[in-house]
Amino acid sequence: MRYAETGYNLEIDLSRGNIERVETDPKLMEQYLGGQGVAAKILWDRVPPDTDPFSPDNVLIFSAGLLHGTPVPGCNRTAVNTFSPQTNLFAHSLMGGFFGPELKHAGYDRIIITGKAPDLVYLWINNDKVEIRDATHLRGKGTHETARLIREELKEPFAQVAAIGLAGENRVYTASIEHGFSSAARGPGPVMGDKRLKAIAVRGTKDINIARPAELFELCVELRNKIAESNDVGDWMAVDEDDSFHHNHFAWGNARTRQKNYWSKELQERWTRWKYDNMDRQVGCYNCSKKCINVISWPGQKRFAYKCYGKDTYHMAAFKELDYSYQILGPAMEYGVDSYSTPQVLAFAIELYEAGILTDQDLPNFPSDSGERIRYLLEIVVRREGIGDILANGVYHAARQIGKGAEKYDHNTTKKFEQLPIKLGKLNPPYFLMIATGEKMAITQIEGSFPQDPLPTMEEREAFVKKWEVVLPDEKFKRYFLQWEKRHEISNEASCAITDWNEAMHYIDDSVGFCGFLSSFRGQFGGGVVYHINNMPEIISLATGMDLDKDGLWRIFQRNRNLVRALNVRRGLRREDERPPEDHWAVRDHEFEQKLLDDYYSFKGWTKDGIPTKETLDSLGLEYVSEDFLRRGILTGNEVTPSKETPAQKDEEPKSGGC
């Protein structure tokens, strides 16, 4: 018997209409856990590096996390992975809600989708009965409308549905996959549209077995109480109406203009009224008592929901107020577009118009009001109408396709992906590393355990690190934080270790299914998360029966991290691509940054070009990767693994190089 996981993949070939239920190798769990970790391995095995993301050979994987469907609270994030048409790299995408747990109960750990359907279809998974069904009657329908119609025609109100809207059908690069009030962004939406897969509906009524059930259940009672009682987990933006942080510090429009004194008491009162006068309730995801999602009925609009910073992006792109976002979020959710990147694309087009690069010929009857303009642009982008067809490819590609100097308005992308609109003064070294070397495209998916900024007084720092007693991977982080006085002054040794820890927690969350608001993203604010490197091994062991300790879990993180890097290296990612936006910080020091990057690569066991060495790969059991790299000439075999510089590893015997 398999514990926690089902032990089966669902393989769907949309070109041939083939459906198979395939038993998996139990070793995959021991090596990569599940979720995004196993998905990366499947993408490595099956998608050759020259595969176009819009080719039938590209693979789209919906993965339940390893602990979905167990009693572990707040474990519900579904990973969706593929290769993104926007970045041509590994697409990291997650959504909360109920999809992954339902898939597990249907008897599958993941759905692996290949090929391309001749016309629009949807997938209906009802335990062992799986059908590819006609979806031509759903063409152009909104994401929630689609879910409703599918539940009705299947007569299955308990089916969980993930669907694309008009944007996904039209392969808009910033299209999302919407499931309930959760959404998966950053790449898989347009690939799902390219495969002509409108939706997946799943219903499962099977058992998930637990290796050591009574002990796990008892531990979960404790964890559940902590989640309910703690203010250090969940989305504080659901309850704290002071959002001066984003409005005063983030850049408005096309990531351009800061309004440092924007926030006021009067404004906060007005916005709070708008929210609470129109909010039906706050809801959560599967088996989690947090209420991160705000459900709003705004006059004249269908009911919609948002969480976190998602409420800010449209009105900040349009220089408007919250009521503007409340009018556009509903339609945007039905079209299925990512609320982080899409508004930036639209604001970029407004700048091009104002600069005379786009004209009235490109944008006939273009309104004068910035809010009206964003709406106009959203409509032409999701339909790929006229210039919208180019804008739908995201800022980086659109700038180059438009030409005429549009390239210089692309000032906020890294690896061809729109970054959060943050423009600061002095460099934050760990953030330089995270934005440069991260492969999840959005900083929110990389940062999170170590605070963003130093605290002003030693008393505050000491109070903060007290909560770290249980969560820390290593005592050295206390020292780093206590000694940190000015944002831009921190040792390279600390920056490397901080980046590593931040990444580690996300990589574990994304394969196990934990929500970042209980774990990887949240520790930076408050310090006391519920899931951390010291209790995760026990939770995973009780559920799966796997013998796992902290070092073992850390090694799996390193394996998954290096595998994702390898996927991208094989598709051409190199050091020159690892550049945060030029204007992210006003004060830059090229020499310092490049030395920091050198140190980080060396810390990670990568070459000067950011490629994991044979020694690094082999030590993690990724020999099949190093062999592939040698065969392709990506590695020569003569690379010397740089010496490790962290104090924790200083005592180790220096190992001989990679050959």
Binding site: G69, T70, R148, P157, T205, I208, V221, R224, G284, S289
Partner: protein, 181 residues
């Protein structure tokens, strides 16, 4: 036939719809508690409580499996509460043939809530214990009531025969049958 006055424990699960965040922890915990052995498997489809939800209607109603019935009702009443429409099925815990709810997914047999009857007894049913938001709360009250002396099945049968044929005729038939051995 009148009985004595007795004290009875009345167990109630109270549901506050406004507090439910739709997380379905109650379903998870119910299925775990009723698994054999306890907690060994998780399966909301085996739960005796389900959150009937329609997010676009802002509808989240945890309902508890009550009695089994062979025939479904017409279920045609629609209630409007605070501007939201609810089908009467949204509040009904009856295990009926018109919907696929509260039936064991393997055997199809009805699954009835037993308020987590256990030895030793739980402080609160499991669904209430895991509901951190207090959408579900548990109340035990003592009520005095006159205990009706209930007739058992045979008594009911005999009484109806007496009503139909008279006591004498029934006694004669009984004697005759018993003598035949």
């Amino acid at each position: 036939m009148k009985g004595e006055i007795v004290k009875k424990k009345v167990k109630t699960i109270k549901v506050n719809l406004d507090k439910c965040n739709g997380c379905r922890a109650c379903e998870m915990a119910c299925s775990a508690f009723h698994a054999e052995p306890k907690y060994s498997s998780i399966n909301p489809a085996r739960s005796r409580i389900r959150v009937v939800s329609d997010p676009l209607n802002d509808e989240y109603v945890p309902i508890r499996a009550t009695d089994y019935t062979k025939a479904g009702c017409d279920g045609r009443r629609v209630y409007t509460i605070n501007g939201k429409e609810y089908s009467e099925c949204s509040f009904c815990g009856t295990i009926c043939p018109t919907r696929n709810l509260f039936k064991d997914p393997d055997s199809g047999l009805p699954l009835k809530c037993d308020l987590c009857n256990n030895d030793p007894p739980l402080d609160e049913p499991m669904c209430v214990q895991v509901c951190s938001l207090d959408a579900l709360t548990y109340e035990e009250t003592e009520e005095e009531e006159i205990e009706e002396l209930k007739l058992d099945d045979m008594e009911i049968g005999l009484k109806s025969l007496i009503d139909k044929y008279g006591l004498q005729k029934l006694a004669d038939s009984f004697n005759r049958i018993s003598q035949k051995g």
